[in-house]
Amino acid sequence: MPDAIAEKVRAIIADQAVLDVADVTMDSTLESLGIDSLGLVESIFAIEEAFDISVPFNANDPSSRDFDISSVAAIVRAVEGLVAEAKV
């Protein structure tokens, strides 16, 4: 399933950035995709809804290790972790 998670996260981010999914690569950063702080909060909401998980993200501390948003790959890894936890 991990690939399916990556595909879905990329699709959510692409939708937010108004880009083609192909333009959202694993090493893209949100900044490079033109997603600002409001776009980030909206993306996280979409991720929570899509995977039925709760993402520990506080906009006052975006660099917090609770949920790494430094790249698309980091977000995918974090979501994979949360999905795995939710299954337990």
Partner: protein
């Protein structure tokens, strides 16, 4: 142009149900924020707030009144009764025609919306109480004050999110200064500590789960509060003639719009409002000893506000004191500027600066004297009160100690 003074003050908030108790809490640096006691709290991720405790509407109002008074109106009425009693004014005669009320609230009767949505959506009922609309409308509190005190002049409610009270008090100030009104009730109120109110705020992910720590490096967001504060603004000559006790003089007010972002603050917009209030009050930057900060405890507000203060005051920024009492009573959103004006009055009148509590670690981006954790004694001639709202709408008031030497330029 008339001079405008404050001759009465009243409040209800998480620290106390009156001014004396609130100022005592400010002096002690006491925190009124705690675990929320509301319905369905277990479905919230944010479970703290500056909730008004031991609130029993039935001790203040009869049954007919309670069906018309949302909590934001109840808080306003009790605050206004205290303010009017202190002022000694009676609006029953001709003065009623020369007096009005301007209040701020961001969202009005949120508890009433919340309860009645439950009735129709959750409980599936097809009928709600007949007075839902007059109870929840944003101007309900202003209208009930006008009725209780016979205020027949200009009266309305202002909604500019977190700056609502400052905008409201600014309007009232202008009306007395221009001679349009002899006296005005002014202030604001908010009560959105209910399931729907907090759930909406959770979405923005700017709320702290543990504490409001303005200017501290480890701050992690804002904490909501509730309550009201109301003041009597009066023309100086009118107040003097009747020998009224003058709490402070209001000397300046300015408002600006960032015209840039719906939630992110702007240093330029804030700085223009602060500089505008000084200009309007014919004040020099060096006259200002104390600023009651907007100081929400979010990463973005606090550093932007400090940068704006540094811009306006230059080197004097390092000599003035700036504190955020939201650390104690929480963020009252549309009512916040009104409760915070009490800290300015305390600074001017009592020479005591309310602290910023919960301060743990210096932030190089907030390198001002934020009066950490402990109140301080200081002689203050001029104080400012900042409010910077979502939507980029800024409003700053300037107050002067009545009888101080800092005269107009």
């Amino acid at each position: 142009m008339k001079r405008v003074v404050i001759t009465g003050a009243g409040t209800v908030n998480a620290l106390a149900h009156d001014v004396v108790g609130t100022l005592a809490a400010f002096r002690e640096g006491r925190c009124g924020i705690g675990e929320l006691d509301i319905r369905d709290k277990d479905r919230l991720t944010i479970r703290i707030g500056g909730q008004v405790k031991q609130w029993d509407a039935e001790t203040h109002f009869n049954r007919q009144q309670i069906v018309l008074y949302d909590k934001f109106t109840q808080f306003t009425l009790i605050a206004a009764r205290e303010a009017v009693a202190q002022s000694g004014l009676n609006f029953d005669g001709h003065l009623g025609y020369e007096a009005g009320v301007v209040l701020g609230t961001a969202a009005g009767g949120v508890n009433t919306w919340d309860e009645n949505y439950r009735t129709v959506y959750e409980e599936g009922k097809n009928r709600v109480h007949p007075f839902v609309v007059p109870k929840l409308m944003n101007n309900a509190a202003a209208s009930h004050l006008s009725m209780e005190f016979n205020l027949k002049g200009p009266s309305f409610t202002v909604a500019t999110a977190c700056a609502s009270s400052n905008h409201a008090m600014g309007q009232a100030f202008h009306m007395v200064r221009s001679g349009m009104s002899r006296a005005m009730l002014a202030g604001g109120s908010e009560s959105m500590l209910c399931f729907g109110g907090i759930k909406a705020w959770e979405g923005l992910r700017v709320m702290s789960r543990d504490a409001c720590r303005p200017f501290s490096l480890n701050r992690n967001g804002m904490v909501q509060g509730e309550g009201a504060a109301v003041f009597v603004f009066e023309e100086l000559e009118h107040a003097k003639k009747r020998g009224a006790d003058i709490l402070a003089e209001i000397v300046g007010f300015a408002m600006t719009s960032d015209a840039s972002d719906i939630v992110m603050p702007s240093k330029q917009g804030a700085a223009r409002a602060i500089a505008g209030a000084l200009r309007d009050g014919h004040l020099n930057p060096e006259d200002v000893c104390y600023i009651n900060a907007h100081g929400t405890g979010t990463a973005a507000n606090d550093k932007t506000e400090c940068a704006a203060v540094a811009d306006v005051f230059g080197q004097h920024a390092d000599r003035l004191m700036i504190s955020s009492t939201k650390s104690m009573h929480g963020h009252l959103i549309g009512g916040t500027g009104a409760v915070e004006l009490l800290a300015c009055i305390m600074a001017l009148r009592d020479g005591v600066i309310a602290p910023t509590i919960g301060y743990e670690e210096p932030d190089p981006e907030c390198a001002l004297d934020v009066v950490p954790n402990v109140a301080r004694e200081a002689r203050v001639d001029v104080a400012l009160s900042n409010a910077f709202a979502f939507g980029g709408l800024n409003a700053v008031l300037a107050l002067r100690r009545y009888g101080s030497a800092a005269h107009p330029k």
